[in-house]
Symmetry: C2
Subunit: 440 residues, 2 copies
């Protein structure tokens, strides 16, 4: 036989009448009389193969789903086959036999229900071979790519910052401790200090990388390891400039995903995308007021938004402003972090916005305090020891001049979850980590 | 005065005769008689400003390098100024005053010499404001971007894998230990297990992310936190297919960098790039033989390459093959990891190549053992407990069928170091970590 090159599943239809070689995994096997209909999976999808020859059918005996095969056959048009063509009169070569039946059915996705999550992750190594599941993670990869492209075009420089720190960036209890050559170190909760320092060099920087939070809870929104998009931009006129950039980036990335992955999102039962040109903004006080008026549940004394308010304001904005994205702005000063900027027009609030999408906070978008003396005062007020050598380098950047700047901490896992329409952030993550799960 | 928008430094030359507003950092200040010549730095470079008015010169009194300024003036052509234009008759607004003199001179780069490294990192937050230093990290960002584009075009799907693991991927002592909600966990040395698992889904995957090694040494080539490019590809015919992809990616990425950053590389005194169409290959045995013959130092009994041999073979390939990139292949079986594939044609060697660039190993490029039973046997031989739940999920992928695959672990920091022509991997890293340094 001629030496043939491998053809991928979506190219079989261009080979009609020609000898064709494919390689992939046995994805489905049906025996009908003396015939075998098999589906071979490769990185582009499925190819149906009709096996008639007795000896060839015999090769499949005992071969389970997952078996790696080479198939050479003749491509034949067949409208009912995936891709509109199938292979006839095949010669099979078993490249890697699988003789144990897999513990899950690979051609059927595990339903994304709360009670199935443990099964989903227990068999993740096999479950990712399911074509439905793969769509989620291709969308995830493209979300990352489109965001990078958006930021690159606007002169944001990608940085890579350390994940092992001498000093936690935000204090607090939710920090993993590490033995670093006999000294105690911590895992980074965010690149906060480093991205602010780097504003002093490039004005505009970003990073997509892991962040670690020792959250002792197991909820649908939290993991102990997350993928964060961190953005920081300098020489901004006001908070709106930052809110607009992050909002516009989100709108244009989502539009692009919904265009490129229209078919995939439909088959995943993802909701239709409803966005406007600009993300509507409501202050936290306005949301309390609107919510209280609408639901007769008084939240006007609440400082933060309740989870129900987050969902409610998203519904409200969708109905009244044609947007599934909403900004909640001007958070109360009680909730501020030491590096936030207090609102000069109203010292009871902070120039900090939360970006909500389909009922969930996906990004925090604050303006930073950039005056050295004020920052030192805010650190002291937060109970931090500004003399600590771990803070020295951060403060150096401010002492020697940083312009007004702001940015965001953006949860990539949450963005994927809500884009696809999943109900738990872990489903948007290949190998999630929480208090109960450290494997696979 | 009219409300003007900010103009960036490289746009000043297009504003000749017009009122122009710039914002940036005071980068240099010279007083000459009653005049002040100042350089303002922004994200695109420098603008020279000539300050004549007494009151304006007075505003600069006590203002140190780093002061954040707004300057409105008239753009005037001046061939000797950066960008070919400068601002005259300016009105200055101090946005953020800096009154302490910075501890390092920001307009002069810290010389990259071994004895200066501590100073380099002690003042990294300021040192990155130096334009020479910035070139290194812009090249680094572009190297990442070009590699991602190369891989994307070839259907590699970007994955994000966990950095906190129940079980170290390679065993060994060089693993950081972590307190994970009262249990012991470890930091990932590489995404090894996960990228192999994901071959079963997408065939081709990659990740650029942090990897952690508790290397107790402080050398010019090692850090305890590195940025790795991990690639894995399935359905490869042989080792050469993997070597060729990684080689071609490197050649085309380097060519693109040398084209896009020709000027920057020249000003950094980087060497000229010498690459051929294909990376020349030498087996470890061949290198021993060539080196022994040339240097009269007998290394034929050595198993691994000595550092001097790495440098020597790079010089040899540069002179004789017109390539600063070289593959050392067929490493001795004594050095193998359990997931490597033993050479079927010579069981004394492993199908593993090292990519060397300008005297340094920058990537390890092996073919993997993909047969479940053989892998289990190799794990046992390596002293690993295959019954350990930490290994269960990895072995699951093999048990249910993985095709022949290979890939690489590629040191991004080392690639940047050698591309720019630095002499220590830490100089290619914004905030490096080693046994002695955990800050900034």
């Amino acid at each position: 036989m001629l030496v043939m090159s491998r053809i991928l599943s979506d190219q079989v239809k261009d080979q009609i009448g020609k000898p064709t070689l494919i390689e992939g995994w046995l994805h489905k096997k049906r025996l009908m009389g003396g015939l075998a209909f098999i589906n071979i999976r490769d990185r582009r999808g499925l190819t149906q193969v009709v096996v008639q020859d007795k000896d060839e059918v015999e090769k499949l005996r005992g071969m389970q789903i997952g078996t790696v095969l080479r198939v050479t056959g003749t491509a034949v048009a067949e409208p009912r086959a995936p891709g509109g063509a199938e292979l006839h009169d095949p010669e099979l070569t078993i490249l890697v036999p699988v003789t144990d039946e897999p513990p899950i059915e690979i051609d059927k996705p595990i339903q994304h229900k709360a009670e199935n999550l443990d099964t989903l992750f227990e068999y993740r190594a096999l479950n990712v071979r399911n074509l439905q599941e793969q769509k989620i993670f291709k969308i995830r990869a493209s979300l990352n790519q489109y965001i990078r492209e958006y930021l690159s075009e606007r002169e944001f420089v990608e940085i890579q910052t350390p994940k092992i720190l001498a000093k936690p960036t935000e204090g607090g209890a939710e920090v993993f401790k590490l033995d670093y050559f006999g000294k105690e170190a911590s895992l980074a909760q965010s690149p906060q200090f480093y991205k602010q320092i780097m504003v002093g060099a490039f004005e505009r920087v970003y990073e997509i990388g892991p962040a670690f939070r020792a959250e002792p809870s197991a909820t649908t929104r939290h993991m102990s390891e997350v993928t964060m998009l961190d953005i920081e931009m300098g020489f901004v006129k006001d908070h709106d400039e930052v809110l607009n950039l992050v909002g516009d980036m989100t709108i244009s990335t989502l539009k692009r995903i919904y265009e490129e992955y229209a078919e995939e999102l439909k088959s995943l039962n993802s909701p239709e995308l409803i966005v406007s040109d600009k993300v509507p903004q409501f202050t936290v006080a306005e949301i309390h007021e609107l919510y209280t008026k609408a639901t007769k549940t008084d939240t006007t004394q609440e400082k933060d938004l309740t989870p129900d308010e987050e969902r409610w304001i998203c519904d409200y904005a969708k109905k009244n402003h044609g947007s599934e994205l909403v900004y909640a702005t001007k958070f109360p000063v009680e909730a501020m972090k030491f590096y936030h900027q207090v609102n000069p027009d109203d010292p009871e609030t902070v120039l900090w916005g939360d970006l909500l999408f389909r009922g969930l906070e996906i990004a925090t978008v604050p303006l930073r305090e950039y005056h050295y003396e004020k920052l030192v005062a805010q650190m002291k007020k937060a109970g931090l020891d500004v003399e600590d050598p771990g803070f020295k380098y951060y403060l150096q950047a401010f002492k020697y001049g940083l312009p007004q700047h702001g940015g965001c901490g953006y949860g990539i896992d949450r963005l994927v979850e809500k884009t696809v329409g999943l109900s738990n952030v872990k489903e948007a993550t290949l190998f999630p980590r929480d208090i109960n799960r450290l494997t696979p």
